[in-house]
């Protein structure tokens, strides 16, 4: 297969020293194997996330995303924008849909963009990395590169919300999406039955309403254990952080003994593709994934 080129939108959390920096490490390794070339959108900005709405309102939110569209389209013409963060993908896709749907919003957006010397001529497509894997490669192709199958390892595929709703991956069911389980199995691992697969981790409320969010996170982790999982896997940086880093607090509050690693699909894929723990960013886990590190090359 020829090299596939995308305009890359890494998002704030993927930057060096930020909360999902190990996600980016593993994505870069995974893309090397798959011959995916990611070119960062020059000077990209934050999407506003799913919490900015309260202060931002409507147009400023869309304009913020539109700046990235204009930068991508000007500098990387013809390339789809690919986001690795679920919220970046959702925020950008939502803004694209709204702007395209309303001539007034489009006109206002262009007027605001002009202030930054930008304009949108062609609206780029906006895709999540999981979509790229499923649609542009497919499970058979993804499986061809496996050198170190994750045999005997049990994962709970935690899809969460924002790669699944409201847009989702084409052909998937909102209540029981299968793409993540299929990625786990394509890599040679076992996807355990998991009844909290699409439960919300609390999102930004993990900051503002920690008790409420942690009650949800508790259910998400408990169900992973119930299914027999040794690790949780997710496509979303906020899901990853929320489910991983508050386990100590939850243990104190609920008298549980949770200590389960929470990984990204790209980390599994990097290890299965023969990469090292470092290539997969496993040194970035707060709860170390010892069993995955043990089989890494």
């Amino acid at each position: 297969m020829a090299t596939k080129n995308y305009a890359f939108y890494p998002g704030c959390s993927s930057q060096k020293g930020a909360s999902a920096s190990n996600y980016l490490t593993s994505v870069e390794s995974m893309c090397k194997t798959l011959d995916i070339s990611l070119t960062e959108i020059p000077d990209w900005n934050c999407c506003g996330a799913s919490i900015g709405y309260g202060e931002a309102g409507e147009l400023p939110r869309h304009v913020l995303n539109a700046r990235n569209f204009a930068l991508a389209e000007t500098n990387l013409p013809g390339q789809d924008i690919v986001a690795t963060c679920a919220a970046c993908w959702l925020g950008a896709k939502e803004s694209k849909e709204r702007i395209e749907h309303s001539s007034q919003l489009m006109a206002d957006t262009q007027e605001a963009l002009k202030e930054a010397g930008l304009q949108i001529k062609v609206m780029p497509e906006i895709r999540h990395m999981a979509e790229v894997l499923v649609e542009d490669f497919g499970f058979d192709e993804l499986g061809k590169h496996v050198k170190n199958p994750l045999q005997g390892l049990k994962f709970a595929g935690y899809v969460g919300c924002q790669t699944n709703r409201p847009f989702g991956i084409a052909g998937e069911n909102f209540e029981n999406p299968m793409y993540l389980d299929k990625i786990i199995e394509t890599m040679g691992g076992e996807a355990v039955p998991y009844d909290q697969k699409v439960t919300c981790c609390g999102g930004a409320l993990a900051f503002s309403e920690p008790d409420k969010a942690q009650a949800q996170i508790k259910d998400i982790i408990e169900a992973a254990y119930d299914g027999g999982a040794e690790m949780i896997v997710t496509p979303c940086p906020l899901c990853q952080a929320n489910v991983e880093i508050y386990q100590g607090h939850i243990n104190k509050k609920y008298n549980t003994k949770f200590n389960i690693p929470v990984l990204y699909y790209s980390q599994l894929m990097t290890i299965a593709y023969g990469g090292s723990s470092r290539d997969a960013g496993l040194d970035g886990q707060v709860i170390r994934a010892a069993k995955l590190e043990a089989i890494a090359k």
């Binding site: 704030c12 959390s13 930057q15 060096k16 020293g17 930020a18 909360s19 920096s21 190990n22 000077d43 990209w44 900005n45 934050c46 506003g48 996330a49 799913s50 919490i51 900015g52 709405y53 309260g54 202060e55 931002a56 309102g57 409507e58 147009l59 400023p60 913020l64 309303s102 007034q104 919003l105 206002d108 957006t109 007027e111 605001a112 002009k114 202030e115 930054a116 919300c161 924002q162 709703r165 909102f174 699409v198 919300c200 609390g202 999102g203 930004a204 409320l205 900051f207 503002s208 309403e209 008790d211 409420k212 880093i245 508050y246 100590g248 607090h249 040194d283 970035g284 886990q285 707060v286």
Partner: protein, 218 residues
């Protein structure tokens, strides 16, 4: 009378109309058939503090209960999980209506002052647009050193900071929290352009929304 008060007086007996004109996706409120699937699908519905589930909010809007709706903390309970949207049999964009109502109440200045998600939203947006990219360290510190009303709270901050110590140390060790972000961190280059663009966007939004006669934004 302030501009907001004049606005409110005009809409006095027509809150539904006001919501349709002023709230993002507000024109959908009349489509709700009160089935309650949204409420049963909401992950925060089962926690205390959830006064009115979405279908109740929609009925209250139609019944003209302006103050009860706009001062309610309910909309701020939204985690943006989008479960209500995908399950609504009438395809109402419920998540966006909740966000829109929250934003409208915030703009009018009538949203509950001690609502922590309101404070966090403000903090997040201002953090993001300050340089174009989120500074996670300043965001967390900002969150912990402010009380629920968004005012500086040193004692509370130290308490919360202590409680979060384990989490922070874990992230530091994993190189997912950078103490030097406090002195700069990741930024966009064209901050001037971003500021000018957002200023214009805000101007246009203010023109289209609070000061418009009706529905001019759509």
């Amino acid at each position: 009378m302030s501009a907001n008060q004049q606005m409110a007086a005009k809409y006095k007996n027509s809150f539904l109309k006001e919501v349709e004109d002023q709230v993002e996706m507000g024109e959908w409120v009349k489509m709700c058939m009160q089935c309650g699937v949204c409420s049963g699908s909401c992950p925060t519905n089962f926690h205390p503090g959830w006064e009115h589930p979405p279908q109740e909010i929609f009925m209250m809007i139609r019944a003209g209960k302006r103050d009860e709706v706009l001062t309610s903390p309910s909309m701020w309970m939204c985690t943006s999980c989008y479960n209500c949207i995908v399950r609504c049999p009438r395809k109402l964009p419920i998540t966006h209506i909740m966000h829109g109502l929250a934003n409208y109440a915030h703009r009018l200045g009538v949203a509950p002052k001690d609502q922590p998600t309101r404070a966090f939203s403000k903090l997040f947006w201002n953090n993001a647009i300050a340089t174009g990219r989120v500074n996670e360290l300043k965001l967390s510190i900002g969150m912990y050193f402010k009380n629920a009303e968004g005012k500086l709270d040193i004692v509370g901050g130290i308490k919360k900071g202590m409680a979060m110590q384990g989490v922070a140390l874990g992230l530091l060790k994993a190189k997912r929290l950078n103490p030097f972000e406090l002195f700069g961190g990741h930024t966009c280059k064209d901050q001037k352009g971003i500021a000018a663009m957002l200023k214009k966007a805000k101007e246009l939004e203010d023109q289209r929304k609070p000061l418009s006669q009706s529905g001019a934004s759509r």
